[in-house]
């Protein structure tokens, strides 16, 4: 064999070898490891709110929240110096829920609180977290007046809200609540045009997300309203944990799966805080 032929043969052999060795690696199996899910949000001026603890389920299994409740855990809300602020009690009649039984203990604005959770053995998982409560603030202007009756008009100017600045917050969260349990949905051509079921069942709560923390006013267009009837307009200041959670989770609701980073050690979920503007506004929306 002359030299060029040898070169070619050697090259092709190398490739053949690489091809044989490059067989498709199999898809790795489930790497499921159950995790503690924390649902807890402290509210300025309120008692420590209910905190929920559950296990995750495997992705292809039906998620039964009651069955996955974690009973008998140690749940402590601590001050920033590590001293215990409140110890929560497990409610056996409501699986997974832990309550404060000391109504005198109110969450203070601008204060930092720590979370400590230890699940019972044999798992004995420890979850910790930290949040700082946003400062109090109030709505200083609203184009919707309290107890107004409004006629739904998607082409009219959007509603304007402005508020005084809070402190120690992640962002503001303007929110619209439909208060009537059986309120009629507002028909919208846009929703009607689409075949997506999501658009046919709008949530009874609508957010404005993505506001910079410096922004102290917002427009809420009419199309944000999803239901006729009694409606409440509130502005929340939410902590960094909550803002980060929403920024990640809302875009992750559809499309490809995304990696979510939770601000908890040893578990997933949310341990956050919110402060509600002092003077929320209620109005009645009619066709």
């Amino acid at each position: 064999m002359n030299q060029p032929k040898k070169n070619i043969a050697a090259t092709l052999s190398l490739f053949f070898f690489l091809t044989l060795n490059g067989c498709e690696e199999p898809n790795s199996g489930y790497d499921y490891d159950k995790q503690v899910v924390v649902n807890g949000t402290l509210t300025a001026g309120q008692n420590v709110d209910t905190l929920k603890l559950h296990w995750t389920s495997e992705v292809d299994k039906f998620y039964d929240r009651k069955a996955l409740a974690i009973p008998g855990a140690i749940v402590l809300i601590k001050n920033s110096d590590g001293s215990v602020f409140d110890s929560l009690w497990y409610d056996t009649s409501n699986p997974g829920r832990y309550y404060s039984n000391d109504p005198a203990k109110k969450i203070e604005p601008t204060k930092t609180y720590l979370l400590y959770v230890k699940t019972p053995s044999p798992d004995s998982r420890i979850v910790t977290g930290m949040t700082t409560v946003p400062d109090t603030f109030s709505i200083i202007y609203s184009s919707v007046k309290n107890n107004d009756t409004l006629i739904y008009n998607p082409n009219a100017s959007p509603h304007l809200f402005a508020w005084s600045p809070s402190k120690t917050l992640g962002t503001y969260l303007p929110t619209i609540f439909s208060l009537d349990s059986n309120a009629a949905m507002i028909p919208k051509e846009f929703y009607g045009d689409t075949t997506k079921k999501d658009f046919q069942r709008p949530e009874k709560i609508a957010y404005r997300v993505g506001l910079p923390r410096e922004q102290t006013n917002t427009l809420l267009p009419w199309v944000f309203l999803n239901y006729f009837g009694n409606t409440r307009f509130d502005i929340f200041a939410i902590d960094e944990n909550s803002a980060d959670f929403l920024n990640q989770v809302i875009p992750a609701q559809g499309g490809e799966l995304k990696e979510i980073h939770y601000r908890l050690n040893g578990g997933i979920g949310i341990f956050g805080a919110k402060t509600q503007a002092k003077n929320g506004i209620q109005a009645y929306i009619k066709p």
Partner: protein, 744 residues
């Protein structure tokens, strides 16, 4: 200053003290006067020679006294020879006009192929012409990026994306140049088509790695698209009509030079509008794009040439949904303008000086119920560039150059609050020097060094480059290349990683960031042992450091410092490519196979573990074939097969409550740890020459995805279901298209 003077003195001393003869000139196409880059010019008797540069210029100095035969060869052209007598004249200026292969006999074509790229040390190079692109069947019309995507080592994120992932690099790591000017977002129709109109293209030169010191600023590859200069002999034009667009091209002589103009526009919007589908409950968007290429060349003297190159392209989308409840308006596009002065200081000192301006703008406006949201992103790039090619001796081709760019990058958001405005004006300076040294008949080496400075980050980086070529014998060569590459501008993906790219936001690194860096090693073997066939095998290894990945939890806004927007990590990519090419004869085609691994690692992603990003493909096979049945009929096909792309699979499910809303959440497992089903597709086209009302032309019929394989685009998780529903979002089905073009 003193050093600069000494350098110039050194260069001019070479150029003015030539003891022997020199031959130089431009190599051009005889039919239209187009300059021809990459042609081999050799003096057969002396076994010395060179390759024409990007402007089609060559020079061979230090020719001893005597009578010699000069041979010029370029694939696709008749090999030409002529005699010179250096005893009679020392400074020979000889422009050479090559004749197209259509009037060629086969033996000489083979000779041309053998001589191709006689001197280049460049590894991983793919050179194509517009006709090669046209031979690749696709949807609508020929597209440069789609043609490149069937080459080994080059991949797209998906078939509906023109973004290029080259040897493990991300889509923003490619330096894309149109006649030397950077194009920042080279796509139309949300990335479905590239901005490059195939009718306007002369050459496409892709360097997949180990590229020389004259290029920099990107980690993975350089794509140099050169537009047609224009016919210096005859005035003529061409019109093309496809289901997608109408294209018009004209060219001809102008003064001491030429002009070229090509334009195209899509008409989806016109069809929608005429059909009345743009209003009402089920309104469709009014969408169109247009682009225009203009080039004017003038020879001011034998030693001075001036060319003006201009590109303008824009996409427009207007969509009113429902009873004007929601209105979406989008505009994006590029403009580039460049004025290039080519000057010959002497026969052996060739220069190009370019002043260019590249502008990119993307604008989105959303209105609903009196509420307005807007996003604007612009990139202004003012650049001055000078490049010197010094044919110092027969053995040394020295290149020196400098590139200064002043950028203005803006991003703004307009909503109900105060508008958010980001603006940065970084400047970047690059200086390079390289020497291509032909050591002997077997060894050629190229050593280069590139210095780069960016004023925002104050980063000063040195990028050494080294290429070496060893001619094993007349038909086979070995090549090795290594180099250090830096990148100072990064594209922030506009909220999706599914391959859409027109709204990616280009931003510069700041003082708290380091330039991304890659270290490349390429080893290649090439043989033309089998007549008419070229076989290339290349292996590569790349190490990336300080690579950036956009944090998708940043709400896709730039409301924090730039450095807070990114994960900073490392990466590596390695693989081997096999490429068989037949470019001569009635049957031409390619067969490519790539075996590759790509990894990325970020401390705060995937628990700090390495992962294989979406564009990692273990195996990739592409085959193209084009057969000229007779004078009138031609059929072409392309088949691609590749490992399914990686995706992230869910492992856990839970509900999380927040202010009255329950989020049904699926937790991801290890990032990109699963594979979609393998991707494969066959496309086919048939072309027939014909005449239309006495005008010469051709029509074509193409079938995209012949056997209607519904490849998977991505896995969609519907968290509202319990357990979450996972569905395959499919790519395009079988799509037939047709069109025709005619010349006038």
């Amino acid at each position: 200053m003193k050093r600069t003077s000494l350098l110039l003195l050194f260069l001019f001393s070479f150029s003015f003290s030539e003891p022997k003869a020199t031959i130089s000139g431009f190599v051009r196409d005889k039919a239209n006067g187009e300059s021809l880059p990459f042609a081999n010019v050799i003096i057969k008797d002396l076994k010395i020679g060179t390759t024409t540069n990007i402007s089609g210029y060559y020079a061979i100095p230090n020719i001893p006294d005597g009578k010699f035969t000069v041979q010029i060869s370029l694939l696709g052209y008749r090999t030409q020879t002529f005699e010179i007598n250096t005893e009679e004249k020392k400074n020979l200026v000889q422009d050479i006009y090559l004749i197209d292969q259509s009037v060629q006999v086969s033996e000489v074509i083979i000779s041309a192929e053998r001589e191709e790229e006689k001197h280049t040390t460049q590894t991983g190079r793919i050179v194509m012409q517009a006709k090669d692109v046209a031979d690749i069947p696709t949807i609508g019309e020929a597209d440069v990026f789609r043609a490149l995507q069937v080459m080994p080592g080059v991949k797209a994120t998906s078939e509906i994306s023109t973004g290029l992932n080259v040897r493990g690099g991300s889509t923003d790591q490619n330096l894309i140049l149109l006649d030397g000017t950077v194009v920042y977002n080279p796509s139309h129709l949300f990335g479905f088509f590239s901005t490059f109109n195939n009718d306007a293209i002369k050459d496409i030169d892709l360097m997949k790695g180990g590229y020389p010191a004259e290029y920099g600023g990107r980690l993975s590859s350089v794509l140099n698209v050169t537009n047609i200069d224009g016919d210096r002999v005859n005035t003529h034009g061409k019109a093309s009509i496809s289901l997608l667009s109408t294209r018009l091209t004209g060219e001809g002589p102008l003064g001491n030079g030429s002009w070229f103009l090509s334009a195209r526009r899509t008409y989806f919007d016109k069809i929608v509008s005429v059909a009345g589908l743009d209003t009402g409950k089920n309104a469709l968007p009014l969408y169109y794009f247009y682009d225009m290429n203009l080039k004017i060349n003038q020879d001011l003297s034998d030693d001075d040439k001036l060319s003006l190159v201009s590109y303008l392209g824009q996409d427009n989308l207007d969509w009113a949904i429902g009873n004007n409840e929601l209105s979406i308006n989008m505009r994006w596009g590029n403009r580039t303008n460049a004025l290039k002065w080519t000057h010959l200081f002497s026969q052996t000192l060739f220069s190009n000086f370019t002043a260019s301006y590249s502008f990119y703008k993307a604008q989105t406006s959303i209105d609903f119920g009196g509420f307005h949201l807007g996003q604007d992103n612009t990139v202004d790039d003012y650049s001055l560039r000078g490049d010197l090619d010094f044919f110092a001796t027969n053995d040394h081709l020295v290149k020196l150059g400098a590139w200064w760019s002043q950028y203005k990058v803006t991003y703004s958001e307009h909503g109900d609050g105060d508008p958010y405005i980001f603006e940065d004006r970084p400047a970047q300076l690059s200086i390079y020097a390289q020497d291509e040294w032909t050591i002997d008949e077997r060894w050629i080496t190229q050593l280069g060094l590139r210095f780069e400075y960016q004023d925002l980050s104050k980063a000063t980086d040195w990028g050494p480059r080294f290429n070496i070529r060893y001619n094993l014998d007349e038909k086979s060569i070995l090549k090795f290349a290594t180099g250090l590459y830096y990148q100072f501008l990064i594209a922030v993906p506009a909220g999706t990683d599914m391959g859409f790219s027109p709204f990616d936001i280009w931003i510069p690194i700041n003082e708290r960031m380091k330039a991304s860096k890659s270290f490349d090693f390429v080893l290649g073997y090439e043989t033309r042992y089998f007549e008419n066939y070229t076989i290339t095998v290349e292996t590569y290894y790349k190490h990336f450091s300080d690579v950036l990945q956009f944090k998708r939890d940043m709400n896709s806004t730039l409301k924090v410092d730039i450095d807070q927007l990114f994960h900073v990590g490392t990466g590596r990519a390695f693989g081997a490519e096999f490429f068989l090419q037949k470019r001569v004869g009635d049957l031409t085609g390619t067969l490519g196979y790539t075996f590759a691994y790509t990894y990325r690692k970020f401390p705060d992603l995937n628990h700090g573990n390495e992962f294989m990003p979406k564009y990692d493909r273990r195996h990739d096979i592409s085959a193209t074939a084009s057969y000229q049945i007779d004078e009138n009929w031609k059929i072409s096909s392309v088949f691609t097969y590749s490992t399914g792309q990686s995706y992230t699979r869910g492992v856990a499910r839970e509900d999380i409550d927040f202010i009255g809303v329950v989020y049904h959440q699926t937790e991801s497992g290890a990032l990109y740890n699963h594979r979609l089903s393998p991707y494969h597709r066959l496309d086919f086209s048939v072309t027939k020459r014909a005449s239309f009302f006495g005008l010469k032309g051709s029509w074509y019929f193409q079938i995209f995805n012949v056997y209607n394989r519904r490849n998977v685009w991505f896995k969609q998780f519907d968290n509202s279901k319990n357990p979450p529903e996972i569905t395959d979002v499919k790519l395009l089905p079988i799509i037939p298209t047709f069109g025709f073009d005619f010349s006038f």
